[in-house]
């Protein structure tokens, strides 16, 4: 088993398994952990490149002022607009970065798009906006989306990414407090920095009584239980994270493996759900294989062994973000991504060799290949995931192979779940061709 894993490790692009600092390794290793830096949306004096220099927070008034200045300036001098970079806003208000000459060409072929030129702060001071305060605020609300995409496009231009291909996936969320848009970059930066701590090494060598096949059987059953209880998707991903982390620090006899599974799901449910299933629900679903006292004892043992660290990034956290970056996304695409990710997590080598963000990105890549979404990997996806196609190819191939093998597998929970029309019956679709992944 270990030899087989070693071989796979050489072929694939694993996380550095031996050096992973784990959540469950005890206190002393955690003191040097990077604490989140001071957060803020202030840009330093050097500005954003391309003429925008923000030295104060982007409030709605300031946003409106910039837009008003820009539009006034645009009316005065359209020739200036043709020299610099501009933002063409399409119908839905999402700004697309276009070099000036492309705008010229666009003007010839279709109706003139609204063009907004962003002036620097200094220019704003010189030419106060003509509009009244109320009007400015109204225009700010109307144009908030376009302006936020302008800002993100500016910062991306400064990063040297291809301007015309990059989509700001949070632009439409700027005025939706449920999307927590102002914190989203900090949150995912934090996830990326801490994900290794929740990863596990190859632990099967230290488990005398269980093997990878048994783990797959357990995961298959847990997916069914999760579905029966109608729990949230993040509960499943946290459950599997708890199971793997616990098995990596404690040898478990075969007869207690299912107990570890239900106790892990109990903990994950309490952490994630509004209404978690109760202990006796888990007793019933495991056909009374264990009494409640055993479940409660195991719950405490797991929590103690993991030192109560449950706030860990799982593939789910990255999946929702990367699906959003896979524009345009739809239900079929989303379900295909989740199908492939769950197949990957059932497969022990995939679950332990790759970090959560890579599993999520590979699932999106494999799903796009499977559904023939061209291009298979975009600049937007590369920007938001931080991975290139090359880095994802090996993991994506495993997922595609698992998809191909799913109909004939004895472990059918994931396959059955995604054959359901509620989930677009994505399991019934043909898997991606190997050469698609190679060409991508």
């Amino acid at each position: 088993m270990a030899a087989r894993l070693e071989q796979q490790q050489q072929q694939q692009q694993p996380i550095n398994v031996g050096e992973v600092k784990q959540k469950n390794m005890g206190g002393e290793g955690r003191n040097n952990r990077r604490v989140l830096q001071d957060i803020g949306n202030l840009v330093g004096k050097q500005g954003h490149g391309n003429g925008i220099n923000l030295s104060k927070p982007v409030t709605r008034n300031f946003r409106a002022q910039l837009l008003a200045n820009a539009q006034e300036k645009n009316k005065k001098s359209s020739t200036e607009a043709n020299n610099g970079a501009v933002v063409a806003t399409d119908g839905d208000g999402v700004g697309n970065f276009v070099p000036a000459r492309k705008v010229e060409a666009a003007k010839k072929t279709k109706e003139e798009p609204e063009v907004i030129v962003i002036s620097s702060d200094d220019e704003s001071e010189e030419k106060p906006a003509a509009k009244g305060k109320k009007e400015r605020e109204k225009s700010a609300r109307k144009n908030a989306k376009a302006f936020s995409s302008v800002l993100s496009a500016r910062s991306k231009a400064a990063c040297g990414l291809p301007r015309d291909l990059l989509v700001s996936i949070d632009a439409t969320d700027m005025d939706n407090e449920l999307a927590a848009a102002e914190y989203i970059d900090d949150i995912y930066k934090f996830y990326k920095e801490t994900e290794e701590e929740g990863c596990v090494h190859d632990y099967m060598g230290s488990q005398p009584d269980i093997n990878a096949k048994m783990r797959s059987i357990l995961v298959d059953w847990l997916i069914e239980v999760h579905r029966k209880f109608e729990l949230m998707p993040e509960t499943l991903y946290l459950t599997l994270n708890i199971v793997d982390r616990f098995l990596s620090v404690k040898a478990v006899p075969r007869r207690e493996l299912q107990l570890v599974g239900i106790s892990s799901m109990l903990i994950a449910s309490k952490y994630e759900e509004i209404w978690a299933p109760e202990v006796n629900d888990f007793e019933c679903i495991s056909d009374n294989a264990y009494v409640s006292q055993q479940v409660l004892m195991m719950e405490k043992t797991i929590l103690r062994k993991l030192e109560w660290y449950l706030t860990v990034p799982t593939p789910y956290h990255f999946l929702v973000r990367y699906i959003k970056a896979s524009t345009p996304s739809d239900k079929e695409m989303e379900n295909m991504v989740f199908f492939l990710a769950e197949l990957g997590l059932m497969h022990y080598p995939t679950a332990i060799l790759y970090r959560p963000s890579l599993i999520a990105a590979a699932a999106v890549f494999a799903a796009r290949c499977t559904l023939g979404r061209s291009p298979f990997w975009t600049s937007t996806l590369k920007h938001y995931t931080g991975y290139s196609e090359e880095q994802l190819r090996d993991c994506a191939k495993i997922m595609v192979n698992l998809h191909a093998a799913a109909p004939g597998s004895k472990l059918r929970a994931v396959y059955k779940k995604f054959c359901n029309s509620d989930l677009s019956a994505v399991a019934l679709l043909s898997p991606a061709k190997e050469n698609c992944l190679e060409q991508a």
Partner: protein
């Protein structure tokens, strides 16, 4: 593995469930939490709020958050070991008479609260139960600490539905009060609570204190005006019926209500108490507000 008594000693009772204890030359505060229910049975294991509180606290490292050092189990009890805060740290910080001696001190403490909330939001944590009782201050050193994370939880973006029956009523935001069981709320909920605390610091009494949801909403609208589709897009669909909002009221002049505040302070207060959560200032932006120049 060391037992509780082997690891910690010299126990001094502070309150029924809180002890001061020692380990080597360091003092700690120990909070005892029973996992038994009212019938003295541990029939559902460790309560969900303890799991959340501990796992969240384990992740945090911030000067203004009471630090969790250790978790020990002993029978049906859990022992949470926190950093020790000496007698100079007073709980329920607004009841401290020294709090109101220096205007600059209020600004300093407000800044620390907002800074902590911004830190938590950037780590996907909603506080949900921020109120003066959960805030301890040391007036001499001007350090503030937020304690008790029982109602805190992590959030995903976009946010899922979370329980709406959280938080002390007086500090509950209009979107939570309005939705009566519709559980979608987010980071602005915590900012509203900070706004209420700011108002309370200035007035020396709770800003809103209605005994029920409806009466509390009425108090809020008396001060800030009744929301309209213009000031809060979608408000009529949120509350379902305009009857909840009572007769339309005009917002009061905050400068008259808070004469002690300078224009920057009034601007910040109005932005934190903005009725529409979409337009409410974020903690991250509030920390950078001109009101805090020189803090």
């Amino acid at each position: 593995m060391l037992t509780l008594r082997e690891k910690y000693y010299d126990f001094d009772q502070i309150s029924s469930k809180v002890f001061k204890c020692r380990r080597d030359d360091q003092f700690f505060t120990m909070k005892i939490v029973s996992i038994l229910n009212e019938e003295n049975q541990a029939n559902n294991g460790v309560p969900y709020w303890i799991i959340r509180e501990i796992s969240i606290l384990k992740e945090l490292d911030h000067i203004n958050i009471v630090r969790l050092i250790d978790v020990m189990t002993d029978g049906p009890d859990l022992f949470l070991v926190f950093e020790y805060l000496d007698n100079e740290f007073q709980a329920d910080f607004l009841k401290n008479p020294k709090m109101f001696m220096y205007p600059q001190m209020k600004k300093e403490f407000l800044y620390q609260i907002l800074n902590t909330v911004a830190y938590l939001h950037a780590r996907k944590i909603l506080l949900r139960d921020l109120r003066p009782e959960n805030i301890l201050v040391n007036v001499r050193t001007q350090v503030l600490k937020i304690a008790l994370f029982g109602a805190a939880r992590t959030f995903e973006a976009p946010l899922e539905a979370y329980s709406s029956s959280v938080g002390c009523l007086s500090y509950r935001s209009p979107e939570v009060l309005f939705q009566f069981g519709c559980e979608k709320y987010s980071t602005p909920n915590d900012v509203w609570a900070v706004g209420c605390i700011f108002g309370e610091m200035l007035l020396h009494r709770p800003l809103f204190s209605g005994p029920s949801d409806v009466e509390l909403l009425d108090e809020i609208f008396t001060l800030l005006g009744t929301p309209t589709e213009e000031t809060w897009p979608g408000v009529t669909s949120i509350c379902g019926t305009c009857a909840l909002m009572g007769p339309p009221q005009q917002p009061k002049d905050l400068a008259k209500e808070f004469p002690m505040l300078n224009p920057d302070g009034l601007d910040l207060l109005s932005k934190m108490l903005c009725l529409c959560p979409n337009y409410r200032i974020s903690a991250e932006d509030a920390v950078k507000h001109p009101y805090f120049k020189g803090v």
